[in-house]
Amino acid sequence: MVWADMISLYSIYSIWLLLIINIILSIGGFLYYLRVSKTDGHIPLEEYPMVSIMVPAHNESVVIGRTVSALLKFDYPKDKYEIIVINDNSSDNTAEVLKKIQENNPDRYIIVVNTDSVAGGKGKSNALNIGFSVARGSVIAIYDADNTPEPEALRLLVENLMSDNKIGAVIGKFRTRNRNASILSRFVNIETLAYQCMNQAGRFFFFKLCTIPGTNFAIRRNIIEEMGGWDTKALSEDTEISFRIYRMGYYIKMMPLAVTWEQEPHLLPVWFKQRTRWAKGNIYVLLKNFKYIFDKSANRMRLDILYYLLVYLLMLSSLILSDIIFISGILGYVHVSLSGFSSLLWGMAILLFVLNVLITLAIEENEFSLQSAILILIMLFTYSKLWVLVVLNAIIQSVSDRLFKREAKWEKTVRYAEAAVEINNK
């Protein structure tokens, strides 16, 4: 058996293993969605706790007004929540926009923390730590500066959080507000629904495992205090904090009825930067927590580490190797003599992938269409390949940061005014 055969075998087994895991998670996710859809998601409380909503904002003048307006419309008792916007060393007119909102809403708790380049401008984790220092609530809710949550989102998150002492945090679902802005944002929309929402729901259904998505979630104040705030070295503070919550013996619940809409990148360079940051952050968290995979006390967190290992090691390597074999085969450099694996199965695997994603779209309104099915197919051969490039770039950057002892730099996602996008939507 030659090395090309061995690599092919490795890729075949890995890809099918990951596909089967995904199928199982999608089934779990669907069943969970179905179960939740039979209720309104609410678990009324006798007394609603004080909530501090924290919104880190760095040069967000384009979107921040819309975000705070949406936060003010929550159906949560108005005297029971405060909005803390951390205007993190912005060089645009974010401060003026926020000031105007404060002036227009004198009866609401809107706190704006303006930081300079000395205290601020060091990334989301740092901004959250600054915001946390002025927060009064026993529950902390986080929203990104480009979010427009639905009015009942906060109440759903808090009610579910308080329903069980073992729940450390509750996450909602996020949707793409500008999905029709470009073909890329359509891909992001599908990916968000299928992999960040359905997959999360599946993991929660089977293992009570979720990863905080960085926005639209509520967490107990005492947990943040106990863990000493956010890790400022982590580029994906959300994944990092999720791991710590599990290590502390809590679990994270998913409440898909708590929905927020956010702006996703519709330009490739912006998307590439954002995803590289996520991947770098996840690699950092994975390396930091890898030791716990052999530690029984880490509870179900070990499963999450395994899941990330599967994605970042098995999936990445098998996709790269299978592509190398495929291209080398076409160029005539490599000859695979492996026989017996039906090529029909590859076709069926593609069908399965499309159906898998279509389930997620079928659940949502105005998402399920033939056009979407075609997009999923195109996604498989384009967007999915870009993911490989993103992770490779993240690995190279992480290694070079470590070699040259550079601090990981927070690359802010560029926002766009959405007037044009809305015209597109019409």
Partner: protein
Amino acid sequence: MMYKKKFMVLFILAILVFLNVIPKSAVKSENSWEDAEILIIFNNNPNQEEISGVQTMVKILTYLQHSVVFASVDECIPVLRDYDFIICYDLRNVPDYFVQSLVNAEKAVMMLGGNCAEAYTSQKGYMVEYHWISDSIATVKNSLYAEEPFTSLLKLKDCVLLNGYFSYTTGELDVDGQKSSLYMRVGNFLYTPISDLSEPSMQALFTKEVARWLWPYNGEPHSYAQYIVLDEVYPFVEPQKLMEIVDYLIHYQLPFVISVMPIYQNTEYPAMKRFCEVLRYAQANGGAIILHAPIIQQYGENTELLKKYLSMAKEAYISYGVYPLGIQVPDSYMFIEAQREILKWYSTVFFYKDNDDISINLDERFNYIYKNGHQIIGPAICLGRHGNNQVKTHLTAVYIDIYDGMEKVKEQIHACIQSRISIKSLWNTYNVVYGNNIYLNTDQGQLYYNNNRVSLKYEPFEYEEDFNYKNDVFHWIAKDLRSLNKVLIIVVILSSTTFLAFIIKARHVNKRRFLISSKRR
């Protein structure tokens, strides 16, 4: 100032040459034209159909063992006199001076279709009538070597039908009541209104007529024999099945060839030994073995790698006493330099029709395979009720698919017996095969391996009772792939069904607005 001007002129000239503004023919030396017997002329800027036609003619002329040059009208005007035989293929709207040059060249001319036959024949002074036909469907009748004539419908491009006094005619053509012969000859001018050579019957007819036209003497040209070839025989074929066919051929005392697929790995397995046992039995009873070219998607420039693999395959067979005497390759090999290089290791080359894709490189302008001096065997064209071979003007191979079932195989063998073409044994020809440390040759029915005479006497092998397959974990996993197929197909069917049910359920629930609503947006 003067130097500046000169420099500018030279610079512009260089750019023009670089951009091909100055025609290639003007800058090309006449030395690039190969000596050949036949010149095929095609239209300037030929379309795909025309290139395909030229490719078919070059293949056939190569099987007929002729050297051929092919070029466009503009390219070949200066060299018309250099070739004894000129084939004008579907030429349309050619300049008058071309026809004049063709007439003045006084060479044997053959025209297939096109619209310059009238100009040529009138300038030659032939007494013929002309009937112009626009695009239409023609009824074609011809008998070839069969007893019963073939009748078929053929698409005819606008062309001219010639009627009058001809020294030779064959076949019939009927276009809306307007009749003509299919091929007609006067002096050394041969004409057919048909340029479409995509139909096998038209290819067979062209082969017959062009061979007769090229034949320098009176009467029919030489007749060539055919080979019965059991095609694409894989080592995993059931030995009993192959044995049954081999025995059948031996029973009828027919010489035959087995074209075996190359094998590079696991050649020590008992299955390979059993397969070679049958081949050795066939070899000892009049059968000859040739190697089938490996089926690889793309060869690229990796000639050395392919040669290495072919050597490995030859060594594997030779180690079991099976001696390949030639190679069987797709006909596209003759047009690609890297593949012609591979063929240099074999004196005997069997060509089979691969597909109708265009592989000819018009820029080569010559059938270079001819220079290699191979004994070339082209594919048979089997037509008619019994599927008899209709080509006897060059060596042909009747390829039999052994996977068709015994009855079909028997039918094909009987068609070969009943055809009027003799069946030849590869042992009666001189064959040479090279390889890394391999030199095989046959001479007067004797086989020599690295200059040592080899006996072909059949002696059964001895088999190990407990063969050690030396399976490692990778072999186990690879073997398990086959059983995994079934499991995965079941998984995929179950998952797809579940997913479809989920989609239907989700749509149903969504319609009733029970699921997550985005109305609140």
